[in-house]
Symmetry: C2
Subunit: 241 residues, 2 copies
């Protein structure tokens, strides 16, 4: 690949849930183990999907002006409390419930993530750009060995992607131009919004994000993506010239 | 050492200029080399100290309400433009002046810094807490191999230390209690202010920060310091039980 089209890129920022880590597989494993310990059986795949939906519902409530800005930790906790009741899992101490809620801090990276990020780090500033909160992202990085140069999040702009100010915050904080930042995600809607603010964009396919659930992953990059890669190592091979 | 007194600490955040990196030695070397290249001789130690003073003057102007908040990059650049004129160094392109100003992104870590931070990282979240801007700190970390888990800065709170909100931002972002954060600095004034907000504190002596200039380093920890160490490896030996 010619260096020219992306030679101006200085920093790559990554969507995290689904793009860097396998949130669904990790959450299913943790909640299934919790159910087993507590002698409760249930549809843990549906539990994981509904828990995740609590996060999207929380962000939508903020976007529509119905609710205050909340951290991912708060949104996940509100939904967890509902789900635990519904599934008949009870008797947890506050400490145990908090630990379970922080399953979202212990998500496994996709198999290629650490290797690809390490390769990319040799040439670029690499960071998160997630709607997850900073503490969650920092703990997740330590858990999974993700070698970020910086942990950036919608929290630092008091908003969530796809609010343009979240994307533009990256170039402002790093002291570079928007097109020198490459937003990397497995979700085309994230890349389309980033592109509108002037960022460069990279699509990485994550066909297994939603497992066997009804939700379908983006398998093909939108035209707004400057680069398309099959995983992070492929991305690094394309960009680290 | 008994683990008890500091067993609650989960994250260490570090003052950077002087505590982690030898700003004065690094700046003197860079500006002396620049002078030589341009056939100009001068008192480069005084140049470095006056350049550094531009940063303190800039922060004081904000604190007193005389000026807007500015990044360290902006404050250093304003003073640099004055000093270059005064020292008779002229004819730089904008790109060359910007490169020289970013000497503050290329400061050498003290000899023990990377080793000590790497040891501390095995047990704690480690991050910056500097009045330098995020971009400067990220570039400095890549330059010097500083293994931060997160890059935090007064910039993210729109203020400078010792404003209490800068210290309290750390526990808020990391989702922990103030006393679970240990502020680490070679400057007692920083630790005294951190302690007032409820943070734990560690003093690390940096006797060579100011070189042969008139300014004297703190050689002994204030009583507000919970821990006192001779360098980062000593700090790690004390804290990583």
């Amino acid at each position: 690949m010619s260096e020219a089209p992306y030679g101006h890129v200085k920093a790559l920022v990554f969507d995290v849930f689904g793009t860097v880590v396998d949130w669904r597989g990790s959450i299913i494993r943790e909640i299934r183990a919790t159910g087993k310990t507590n002698g409760v059986d249930g549809d843990w795949e549906a539990f994981a999907d509904r828990w995740r939906a609590g996060y999207h519902d929380g962000m939508n409530a903020f976007r529509s002006g119905e609710a205050e800005w909340k951290t991912a930790d708060q949104m996940y906790r509100e939904r967890l409390d509902l789900l635990l009741g519904e599934y008949g899992i009870s008797g947890f101490s506050e400490q145990e419930t908090d630990h379970l809620n922080k399953a979202w801090h212990r998500l496994d990276p996709w198999a290629d993530a650490v290797e690809g990020l390490t390769m990319l780090k040799s040439k670029f500033v690499i960071g998160t750009l997630s709607n997850g909160n900073v503490g969650l992202l920092v703990n997740m990085a330590k858990y999974g060995g993700l070698p970020w140069d910086c942990v950036l999040a919608g929290e630092l702009a008091g908003s969530y992607k796809p609010d343009p100010k979240v994307y533009l915050m990256v170039s402002e904080l790093l002291g570079i131009e928007p097109h020198e930042v490459m937003m990397t995600a497995a979700h085309n809607h994230d890349l389309i919004a980033a592109k509108k603010t002037g960022l460069s964009t990279a699509f990485v396919s994550r066909p297994d994000e939603y497992g066997v659930s009804a939700r379908k992953p983006d398998l093909v990059a939108a035209t707004e993506a400057d680069v398309s890669a099959t995983d992070f190592v492929d991305l690094a091979v394309q960009l680290v010239v």
